[in-house]
């Protein structure tokens, strides 16, 4: 109703609208382009100089053996290997130190094998991946269990790990040929496995299991391994299945021989 009285405001013509939009676009592009030329070379220079000597060493190994599957900047290659951005040095040290990486071939699961790189080299690659994308790290030192409480660790182990790794850490089957291996690993490997959750294992980050919890669990696992079976031969600590074998193959067979000895055969 009021518009009737004011000067009629014509909407901008189609042509003018188009011209304005074009000008804004050119301005924006110029700005972005200018910024890029100004900062981009500097950023690249800073990145490579920012790598520690260890990480630089690691980058060498990475480009040589890992990049074919994980991409030249660890961003991953579809169908060959996942991105390693954010997995941290924990994952790398675990994977490379245990020989799982570099991956050998297609199987249900990447298995532990003779490591291609020694632990120092593995840590170098870890340092590189850490520099590229950050992520969890294994604490310093080789002894990560002596500050742990094995009894508490036992409870945590049974709740969190035994479902896959079995009560005595003797390993267990998962679906379709995958399996949780029997744990025969160093403190650092166990820590790394918990932090990074290799393949079908869940990640146990520091808010699921605190560093103290982890130390307790490691203390329990290492104690299990050094513990001698008080009851005699542990038959693999695999529960009732080998016990069934023993009762038939040892107990019953011995007694059937005894019956043959005592009594006649016809």
């Amino acid at each position: 109703m009021f518009s009737r009285f004011g000067p009629a405001r014509r909407p901008p013509s189609r042509l003018r609208r188009r011209l304005a939009a074009g000008a804004r676009l050119v301005a924006a592009l110029t700005l972005v382009g200018g910024l890029y030329t100004a900062f981009a070379p500097a950023a690249v220079a800073e990145d490579s100089s920012g790598l520690s000597p260890a990480a630089q060493q690691g980058k060498g190994y990475f480009d040589q053996t890992c990049a074919s599957c994980h991409g030249s900047n660890a961003q991953g290659v579809p169908g060959k290997g996942p991105s390693l951005i954010g997995v941290g040095s924990a994952a790398v040290e675990f994977q490379v130190g245990s020989g799982r990486m570099p991956l050998a071939g297609q199987a249900a699961q990447a298995e532990k094998k003779k490591a291609l790189y020694n632990l120092d080299q593995a840590r170098d690659i870890g340092a590189y991946i850490e520099a590229v994308g950050g992520g969890p790290q294994i604490p310093e030192g080789d002894d990560l269990h002596s500050k742990g409480d094995a009894a508490r660790g036992g409870e945590l182990f049974r709740v969190n790990c035994a479902a896959c790794h079995q009560f005595a850490a003797a390993g267990g089957a998962l679906s379709s040929g995958k399996f949780a291996p029997a744990i025969a690993a160093t403190d650092r490997e166990i820590y790394g496995a918990m932090l990074s959750g290799p393949q079908n294992m869940p990640v146990f980050g520091d808010n699921q299991l605190t560093p103290q919890d982890k130390a307790d669990i490691i203390a329990y696992i290492q104690n299990l391994r050094s513990d001698q079976d008080p009851g005699g031969w542990g038959i693999g600590r695999l529960g009732p299945v080998p016990e069934a074998l023993v009762i038939f193959l040892v107990g019953l067979v011995a007694l059937i021989f005894a019956t043959l000895w005592i009594a006649g055969k016809s």
Binding site: A108, A150, A151, R152, G154, E155, R158, V159, A162, A163, H165, Q166, F167, A168, G171, G172, A173, L174, S175, S176, G177, F179, A180, Y220, N223, L224, D229, P230, G231, G232, W233, G234, I235, G236, R237, L238, G239, P240, V241, P242, E243, A244, V246, I247, F248, V250, G251, L252, A254, L255, I256, A258, T259, L260, W261, I262, A263, G264, K265, S266
Partner: protein, 539 residues
């Protein structure tokens, strides 16, 4: 004063006379001592079960002295450090104390468990021998039924024992048991809540299982074993057919001294095998399992071997759940019902009535005291092989996760092997066993007619080769003898009929020196047999 002389040599007789004067036991004891038992290794399989039951009672009494089945929570303070300070039930606590703080407790616990496994294993092979030899036929059907009941009672007894220590493994077993009872249609919920005194786990189940395990079930087993043995004595043991053995006598050794000495010795052997296992092989390491918590389920959680087939049937069962609406209510039949309630139901009832089912098919109403060789009854043997195969597939499937893990096979592949195997393998076993039985029968008949293969090849003047056979009886012009099959071993080697040097006898080493170069094959006349009678048998 002159001391009265005691004649030591006459003392036993004098004591016996004094006892007989008071209790008049000479006549029944003489009958007892003169009872005759046939001698064959397979007749000792039942004794293994009997003796391991005695070991179970002895070791069980020992550990019961230190065990407290209470669900009360305590903090562990025993000597196994990796559990120090852990909160657990008193039952688990005392079971750990038996293992670590009671002198000799661990070896007793382990002997008890090994004896339980051996008890069940011996029952099974004993049952196989009774089955495959036809010992269950009239008049022994009742003893067969007692036997089947003993198997299931042993199963129950073992399951209760497995549940007692309240470690994570036994708790997992109980959890499954509660799921099984819950799945029973209509009454399942009531059965479960009354067993557990409410929801699982509750705090009464351990006390109840304890009474069942140490009193009720063993008492029933003991009673049934008594019935089993009484029937055996009354009906007399069966025997294999053979020279001098008929359906109306028993040929063998007297109860006293022969059989008693052998039995006593065999008890020692069974005891020592169990002690050997208990001392050298670790069994059920409860300290590794930890206390039971609902949140703890370990990989490789299996029941003891005699329950494992039910675990297997559960693992093979596809997850088929039946749901329907009726009278305005929704009903569900969970898949666990079929493998753990229906299947054991069938497995209890079918064997119980097997003697009658077979008699019905064979129309055989006569009493039998002579055993049959498995080959002579191909259908029964094939059925038995089929049942064993069925059982074996379920049994292996019960441990399939451990098998898959240790032999690097996919777990899914083992499950499918089980599913297909349970359908395909039993009929295959039936067919193969049936053929083998017929083949063995035919070979027996062949040897009876043609004689023993001597291994001597002759070439006749016209250049043909033939093998020389030794006829077992006077042969006709074609070299054929007319001999009836006696239901017993047909000699198939020359030394069996004394034509060659006898094979060296003795189990571990020769019990007699092989004779020096005999010029002629030694043939000794069959010894005269003395027939001992203790009454006649019904016909």
């Amino acid at each position: 004063m002159k001391r009265r002389k005691v004649d030591v040599a006459a003392l036993p007789a004098a004591t016996a006379r004094q006892i007989d004067d008071r209790f008049q036991v000479a006549t029944p004891l003489r009958r007892m001592f003169n009872k005759v038992f046939p001698d064959h290794w397979s007749f000792l399989l039942g004794e293994i079960a009997l003796y391991s039951f005695i070991v179970l009672l002895l070791t069980g009494t020992f550990i019961a002295l230190f065990f407290d089945p209470s669900a009360k929570e305590v903090e562990y303070s025993g000597s196994y450090t990796p559990l120090k300070g852990v909160v657990m039930s008193q039952a688990y606590n005392t079971a750990l104390n038996i293992s670590f703080d009671v002198r000799g407790g661990l070896v007793m616990r382990q002997m008890h468990h090994w004896a339980a496994l051996l008890f069940m294993a011996a029952i099974i092979v004993h049952m196989f021998r009774v089955f495959f030899t036809g010992a269950f036929r009239k008049p022994r059907e009742a003893n067969w039924i007692v036997g089947v009941s003993l198997f299931w009672l042993g199963f129950l007894e073992g399951f209760c024992g497995y549940g007692l220590p309240d470690d994570a493994l036994s708790g997992t077993g109980l959890r499954i048991a509660s799921a099984i009872t819950l799945s029973i249609p209509v009454v399942g919920t009531w059965v479960t809540t009354s067993l557990f005194g409410g929801e699982f786990p509750g705090d009464v189940i351990l006390d109840r299982m304890y009474i069942a395990h140490v009193l009720l079930v063993p008492a029933i087993i003991l009673g049934l074993i008594t019935v089993h043995m009484a029937l055996l004595v009354k009906q007399k043991h069966t025997q294999w057919p053979g020279p001098g053995r008929t359906n109306h006598n028993v040929v063998g050794v007297r109860m006293f001294p022969g059989f008693a000495a052998k039995g006593g010795g065999f008890f020692m052997i069974v005891f020592s095998v169990i002690a050997f296992l208990g001392g050298l092989f670790q069994i059920n390491p409860i300290w590794l399992f930890g206390p039971y918590k609902a949140s703890v389920v370990s990989a490789a959680s299996q029941p003891d071997w005699y329950v494992m087939f039910l675990d297997g049937s559960t693992r093979l069962m596809p997850a088929w759940e039946l749901r329907w609406h009726m009278f305005g209510h929704g009903y569900t039949l969970p898949p666990i019902l079929w493998p753990t309630v229906v299947l054991p139901g069938i497995l209890t009832v079918l064997p119980l009535f097997y003697p009658f089912i077979e008699a019905r098919f064979t129309r055989d109403k006569t009493a039998h005291h002579l055993l049959q060789r498995p080959r002579d009854v191909p259908t029964r043997s094939a059925l038995g092989a089929m049942a064993i195969t069925f059982y074996m597939v379920l049994f292996l499937s019960g441990g399939n996760d451990v098998i898959a893990d240790k032999f690097n096979i996919s777990l899914n592949a083992t499950t499918w092997f089980g599913r297909i195997g349970i359908l395909v393998l039993p009929p295959l076993a039936y067919y193969v066993t049936h053929r083998i039985c017929l083949g063995l029968q035919q070979h027996d008949r062949e040897v009876l007619v043609h004689g023993i293969e001597t291994g001597i090849l002759r070439r006749s003047v016209d250049g043909r080769f033939y093998e020389v056979h030794q006829p077992l009886a006077a042969a006709d012009d074609h070299g054929h003898a007319e001999l009836d099959y006696a239901g017993w071993v047909v000699p198939k080697k020359m030394n069996r009929v004394g034509a060659l040097m006898p094979s060296v006898r003795g189990f571990f080493r020769p019990i007699e020196q092989p004779p020096g170069q005999p010029t002629e094959a030694p043939v000794s006349p069959a010894p005269d047999r003395e027939e001992i009678g203790t009454g006649t048998r019904q016909r």
